[in-house]
């Protein structure tokens, strides 16, 4: 069992694919030369996956600890949050952490979709 599918039941999968209320949004940024720091926010892991997708001339901006807390409490995915903390701790740099988190979130969203589809 991969970390992406670990501890996921249909209820968790539904939460992963659901948009949280606006008041529970998570603020993210991006370093985009020459424009600088770009502000944004996300309300679901699906949006987060799009934000984190590696780009050759920009870099996502986020606070990993706050992200993990948001996934745990607002999205309602403690296992995902633990996995985020784990891959971030193992990464050699902030950028490497972003890439690892992106892979994790992408797989987790895909797993959630599969689970919901198979559950009918």
């Amino acid at each position: 069992m991969s970390v992406a599918t670990g501890s996921m039941d249909t209820e968790t999968a539904r939460r992963i694919l659901t948009q949280v209320p606006y008041s529970s949004r998570f603020t993210v940024g991006a370093l985009v030369p020459p424009v600088g720091l770009r502000q944004s926010n996300v309300r679901s892991l699906g949006e987060l996956e799009l934000v984190l997708r590696p780009e050759p001339a920009s870099l996502a901006g986020l606070n990993v600890d706050r992200l993990a807390a948001w996934i745990e409490t607002e999205v309602g995915d403690p296992a995902g949050a633990a996995a985020v903390r784990e891959v971030a701790r193992a990464a050699s740099s902030y950028a490497a952490a972003c890439e690892a988190i992106h892979r994790l979130i992408r797989e987790r969203v895909a797993s959630a979709r599969l689970l919901i589809e198979s559950a009918g």
């Binding site: 030369p33 720091l37 740099s93």
Partner: protein, 712 residues
């Protein structure tokens, strides 16, 4: 006498009487070109310099080229400067500037004109048809209501110019007799006319109105589309078959060759640590994924960078930077894939270009509108009534409806048309400027991606001037250093080495004074930083906005392609002044260019003073003083070279701080004293103006009771 680099004459358009006349450029040569030329023309031809709304009939709008336009100066030949009193700034719309790239300025030079002065107001919509020396002010009834792209197509069709990418010769003369004029190479060309136009946002005189040229070259800030709309001016088309005479072609080509051989990174080897280097284009300046890899680079005329693109899919062409980002945060709400995200996002870029609407207002504004809607403040039957389909936020359909409403003064567009900060106060949302929900930090304009609490030269320069400066000279330090930290890579240059190299080029005010780059808490209101801001204001006023070197490529302070890491700026082999001298034959030093910038900047301040500026007005929006630049929210760190208590240089994180209002006020006193302005008012003094050969300006200020006083 030959004026090398100049066409030799300026076109003066009197829209009220539908006449035009010529002014000799020679009188204005000392101002250089671009902003300097335009500010001097504004001073001479604007009869009421107290106006504070660009839509006033007395406003004069100027389009000004540089001697470098139409020459092969690397990334220095394709920009055009726009000047006049702006629209929608807060609390006052200052005499301000904008600029755009593409082909317009070079075509204007080839047609024989250095600048266009637009005065008065036509009684009904008109457009201006310039074909070499022939100028016609034509009826624009059939164009009014068209978007920016439709307008350009219609004008090309009217003129018989080939469309698409055909390279057929065509005759730009309206009659066969005209075509026999031997002075102009028979008036035949393969070039399409270069058209600058407004869309619905400008026609309806909204502060968001842009001037747009080709698919995506826009002058957004300042609301110059609204200025044109107020004058009933829909478009200016120009096509020319002349030439630009260069004083020393051999020196020009030598410097260009040096640039290529010595300073440019290979275009095929993108380098994370050299984003801003001349010629280094990691990819088009998109802020989001492009729709396809099948694309061609597209550049302003003469540019070696090609920071834009044209795509095989046929949308998103020529948009770059902010236009490709204005709707991105919303699209993520609905996109199910990167492909869908890219398509909606770039089609939204096309929408905003066609309406001629300034995309930059959404940098902070889109988040604010979403916040108001989601908090139940804005929407059907809410405190801020809006019947837009907010539940479809993020779709292309919503983007079109939003931009349509804002461009036509419909729905919330009725209030936003006069400026976003003005709308905030009208809606009783002034506190949003205190909390930071609306981050329009200087003169009612959106904060750029460089927070004024960290990127001091950007914030201070903007509030001490007239607008968000949008000058990327120094923030390459932040982006490169921060990126290196993000990737845990060793810095190519240690902090001390970096600031020493840069300060070598801060001639003449801060030469070899690296402390001017120290943005640490202990130094952020110092004379050091004031000295940096001083250099920056003067450098950009001449080299960037008058000589029109492209902001995204110049200056080149440090360059890791060279053995000693020194960039081209101020160098003796390919510095800015080397190119200027090769084209004009003038022989100025780099420092003399800075001095020209000082003169131009001070003329600007004299105009702001006549408009009513006083130092007490020069303050940021409240959130800059009252809230912190929150650490880790937008990025984990904001790295910048700073000295520690022992005077040792380190890269330090600047996040987590706010500006102190009283200390910033003290900083203004230091800055004003350095400029020679009255420290009590910020007004220029006679002594200063006389030293700049601006006695006539001092006389005007004295007559208005706004001449600064010398204080000990």
């Amino acid at each position: 006498m030959t004026l090398y680099g100049y066409a030799g004459k300026i076109l003066r358009l009197d829209l009220t009487n539908r006449r035009f006349s010529e002014v000799a450029t020679e009188k204005y040569q000392a101002w250089g070109g671009g902003h300097g030329l335009g500010a001097a023309l504004f001073w001479d031809f604007c009869k009421d310099k107290t106006i504070t709304d660009g839509r006033h009939p007395a406003n004069v709008c100027i389009l000004a080229t540089s001697p470098l336009n139409g020459t092969p100066v690397p990334s220095g030949g394709g920009r055009c400067e726009v000047l006049g009193v702006g629209v929608g700034m807060y609390p006052v719309s200052w005499f301000t500037r904008s600029g755009f790239g593409g082909r317009f300025s070079t075509m204007l030079k080839h047609a024989g004109w250095d600048a266009i002065v637009i005065e008065g107001k036509a009684s009904s919509p008109v457009w201006v048809d310039i074909r070499n020396d022939k100028v016609e002010i034509r009826d624009a009834a059939a164009l009014w209501g068209k978007d920016t792209w439709e307008t350009q197509h219609a004008i090309r069709e009217f003129m018989g110019a080939p469309g698409g990418v055909d390279n057929a010769w065509w005759d730009l003369n309206p009659t066969a007799a005209d075509a026999l004029d031997p002075a102009r190479d028979m008036g035949r060309t393969t070039q399409k006319p270069a058209v600058l136009t407004i869309g619905p946002a400008g026609e309806n005189q909204t502060a968001a109105g842009c001037l747009l040229h080709d698919a995506g070259n826009g002058a957004g800030q300042g609301g110059f589309g609204a200025v044109w709309g107020s004058k009933n001016l829909k478009a200016i088309s120009v096509v020319g078959t002349g030439e630009v005479r260069v004083a020393d072609p051999k020196a020009l080509l030598r410097a260009r060759h040096v640039t290529q051989q010595k300073y440019v990174t290979s275009i095929t080897q993108p380098d994370f640590a050299s984003w801003s280097k001349i010629g280094n284009v990691p990819r088009p300046l998109f802020m989001n994924p492009p729709p396809t890899t099948e694309r061609r680079p597209q550049a302003c005329q003469g540019c070696i960078s090609g920071c834009r693109a044209r795509f095989a899919v046929g949308y998103g062409n020529e948009s770059t930077c902010q236009e490709t980002n204005w709707y991105l945060p919303a699209v993520r709400r609905v996109a199910k894939s990167m492909e869908e995200l890219a398509e909606i996002n770039l089609r939204a870029a096309d929408v905003i270009q066609r309406y001629g609407h300034n995309s930059f207002l959404f940098q902070t504004g889109l988040h604010w509108l979403e916040y108001l809607y989601e908090e139940g403040i804005l929407g059907p039957g809410k405190a801020i009534p809006s019947n837009l389909p907010w539940e479809t936020y993020g779709t292309l359909e919503f983007a079109e409806k939003l931009i349509h409403a804002l461009s036509h003064r419909e729905d919330i567009g009725a209030d936003l048309a006069d400026g976003w900060v003005q709308a905030a106060y009208k809606w009783g949302r002034g506190d949003d400027l205190r909390t930071g929900h609306l981050q329009n930090s200087y003169w009612g304009m959106p904060e750029h991606g460089y927070d004024p609490r960290a990127e001091l030269e950007w914030g201070y320069g903007s509030i001490l001037g007239d607008r968000d400066i949008n000058e990327h000279c120094f923030n390459i330090i932040f982006t490169n250093v921060t990126a290196a930290f993000a990737f845990a890579k060793p810095m190519r240059l240690e902090a001390r080495e970096l600031v020493e190299i840069i300060s070598e080029k801060l001639i003449p005010y801060a030469t070899n004074r690296p402390e001017v780059l120290d943005f640490a808490d202990a130094n952020m209101y110092s004379e050091d930083v004031a000295r940096l801001v001083l250099w920056h204001r003067h450098y950009t006023r001449f080299y960037k906005q008058s000589a029109l070197f492209c902001d995204l490529r110049w200056p080149d302070f440090y360059n890791t392609n060279t053995p000693d890491n020194r960039g081209a700026t101020a160098s003796d082999d390919a510095g800015e002044h080397i190119f200027w001298n090769a084209v004009t034959g003038e022989g100025i030093s780099f420092a003399e260019g800075i001095e020209r910038g000082r003169r131009i900047w001070n003329l600007d301040n004299a105009i702001w003073t006549l408009q009513g500026r006083h130092r007490d007005m020069v303050h940021f929006a409240p959130y800059v003083y009252e809230t912190r630049f929150e650490k880790g929210e937008l990025f984990p760190f904001y790295m910048w070279p700073c000295r520690d208590e022992q005077g040792e240089w380190h890269y330090k994180d600047l996040m987590g701080r706010k500006l102190d209002k009283d200390k910033f006020d003290e900083f203004k006193t230091i800055f004003y004293r350095m400029e020679g302005w009255d420290v009590a008012t910020g007004w220029p003094t006679r002594k200063l103006l006389a030293s700049l050969d601006l006695d006539e300006v001092a006389d005007a200020l004295e007559a208005a009771g706004r001449l600064g006083v010398e204080r000990s």
